[in-house]
C-alpha cells in the first residue's frame, strides 16, 4: 500500500473511533443513572467529538478532495466507517458502558502515547493533546470497574457479565493490518505488539483489584478496520446522520 494512502486510512480510523464512541456516549445524556455520571458522559463525549474533528480535518487535507470534517461524519455510510467494533457496541446497562470504556481507553491511552512520538507532526500534536483527556477519563472509569466489581454480589455479577460479553471485541484492538504496518514503518507509528503487552498488564491489574475474572482465550470478532461492522453501527449512524440525510446541506 502506498504510504500516503495508508496514512489517510490510518487517520480516518482514528477519527471514526473517536466519533462513534463520542456519539455513543452522548446517547447517555438525559438517561444516566446519576447526575455525576451524566456530567462525566457528556464530558467524555465532548472530548471524543473534539478529537474526531481534529482527525477528520487532517484527513480532509491529506485526501485533498475538499471533504470537510462534516462530510466524513455525516455523508459516509456504515461500510465506509473504519472504527473498531468495541466502540460501536451499545451502551447496555451502566456496567456495560463502564467496561466498554475501560477496555477501549486502556488501549487508546497507550496508542495515543505512542502516536505522540510518531513522525507525523499533525498526528503527534493531536495525540499529545488528546492523551491528557483520555488519562483523566481512564482514571474515572477504572474507579468504576473496581467499585462495581468489588461492590455487591449483584454489581459484581453484572459487570463480570459485561466483561464476558465485550471480551470478544478486544482481539481486534491488536489485530493490525497493512495500514497499521505501513503507518508503523513509514511514520514510526505504534507497535501494536508492544501495546498489547502493556494493555494486558494494565487490564489484569485492574481486574484483580476489582475481583473480576479475565475471560478465557476465545474466538475474537473483527472487521471494523475494513468496514465490516456489527449490526449496531447502522442504527447509530442513522440517528447521527438523520438531519443531513433528510435536509442535505442544512447548516446551523
Amino acid at each position: 500500500m502506498d504510504k500516503d494512502e495508508a496514512r489517510l486510512n490510518y487517520v480516518l480510523r482514528l477519527g471514526d473511533n473517536a466519533l462513534v464512541l463520542g456519539q455513543r456516549l452522548s446517547e447517555i445524556v438525559t438517561r444516566a443513572p446519576e447526575l455525576e455520571e451524566e456530567l462525566a458522559s457528556a464530558n467524555f463525549a465532548l472530548d471524543y467529538i473534539g478529537q474526531a474533528r481534529l482527525f477528520y480535518s487532517y484527513a480532509g487535507e491529506l485526501e485533498g478532495k475538499g471533504r470537510s470534517e462534516d462530510d466524513f461524519a455525516f455523508l459516509r455510510d456504515g461500510p465506509e466507517f473504519r472504527n473498531l467494533l468495541l466502540v460501536e457496541q451499545p451502551n447496555g446497562h451502566f456496567g456495560d458502558t463502564v467496561v466498554r470504556q475501560f477496555l477501549f481507553e486502556a488501549f487508546y491511552s497507550l496508542l495515543l502515547e505512542a502516536l505522540a512520538r510518531c513522525d507525523d507532526a499533525r498526528v503527534t500534536e493531536i495525540a499529545a493533546r488528546a492523551v491528557k483527556e483520555i488519562h483523566y477519563h481512564l482514571r474515572h472509569v477504572t474507579q468504576w470497574v473496581v467499585r462495581l466489581g468489588g461492590g455487591t454480589d449483584e454489581s459484581h455479577d453484572c459487570v463480570q457479565q459485561s466483561l464476558d460479553t465485550l471480551w470478544r471485541y478486544t482481539g481486534e484492538l491488536f489485530a493490525g493490518d497493512q495500514v497499521d504496518e505501513a503507518f508503523q514503518c513509514e511514520w514510526n507509528g505504534p507497535r501494536l505488539e508492544d501495546i498489547e503487552v502493556a494493555w494486558n498488564k494494565k487490564v489484569e491489574a485492574v481486574l484483580a483489584d476489582a475481583t473480576l475474572t479475565r475471560p478465557n482465550a476465545q474466538w475474537m470478532d473483527g472487521g471494523g478496520r475494513t468496514g465490516r461492522h456489527t449490526e449496531h453501527l447502522g442504527y447509530l449512524i442513522a440517528e447521527m446522520q438523520f438531519l443531513q440525510r433528510a435536509y442535505p446541506g442544512a447548516q446551523w
Binding site: 455525576e36 456530567l39 465532548l46 507532526a121 493531536i126 493533546r129 491528557k132 483527556e133 488519562h135
Partner: protein, 169 residues
C-alpha cells in the same frame, strides 16, 4: 502603507496583549484569555496581526466563541487585519494559568488548580482541594466533572458550600 491598524498607527504586540486582557472567557467571565494562558503568541506583520490561541480541551465549545471575541475586540479598536492561528502543540495545561488568574478564580468562588499538571499529579488518587470561600482543606469531591470540561465539582465540609474546582490537566 500600513494595513494593520485603520488608525494608521502600527500596534505593538504589547498593545494587542493589553486589549486581550479584557477579552473574557465566555464560560468563566472573570478570567481573560490572557489569564487563561491560551494566547500563546502575538505576531505583528506588515499587513496583519496573527494571534496564536491554544484550545483548552479539544471539544471545548468555547474555543470558537473566544476566537470570534478576539477578532471583534481588535476590530473595535481599529485593528481589522487579524488572523487566528490555532496551536495544539504544546498542549494547553493549567500550569499556564497566570497567578492573577488564579486569584481571580478564587475570588469568583472557583478553586484554582492545585500543583503542577505532571502525569503523576493527574493520576494521583486523591488531592486536597481548598475551599475558595473559607479556605479549609476539609472538602469532598462530589464529581470529577462539572458544568464545563475544565471543572470538577466539590463541596466544603466546613461552610457546606458547593464549589467548582478548575481541574489540573
Amino acid at each position: 502603507m500600513n494595513l494593520v491598524a485603520d488608525t494608521g498607527v502600527m500596534p505593538t504586540s504589547r498593545d494587542i496583549r493589553f486589549l486581550l486582557e479584557s477579552v473574557a472567557d465566555p464560560e468563566i467571565p472573570v478570567l481573560s484569555v490572557i489569564d487563561l494562558g491560551i494566547v500563546r503568541d502575538i505576531a505583528v506583520y506588515q499587513d496583519r496581526v496573527e494571534v496564536s490561541v491554544a484550545p483548552t480541551y479539544t471539544g471545548c465549545p468555547a474555543t470558537e466563541v473566544i476566537e470570534r471575541m478576539i477578532l471583534a475586540k481588535l476590530r473595535r479598536n481599529g485593528i481589522s487585519h487579524v488572523t487566528i492561528k490555532r496551536v495544539l502543540s504544546p498542549p494547553w495545561t493549567t500550569d499556564w494559568l497566570t497567578e492573577a488568574g488564579r486569584q481571580k478564580l478564587r475570588a469568583y468562588g472557583i478553586a484554582p488548580p492545585d500543583g503542577s499538571a505532571s502525569k503523576r499529579s493527574l493520576l494521583a488518587p486523591v488531592l486536597k482541594v481548598r475551599c475558595p470561600r473559607c479556605s479549609t482543606d476539609d472538602t469532598t469531591r462530589v464529581s470529577e466533572f462539572g458544568s464545563t470540561p475544565c471543572k470538577a465539582s466539590y463541596k466544603c465540609n466546613e461552610c457546606f458550600e458547593p464549589f467548582e474546582y478548575f481541574k489540573c490537566i
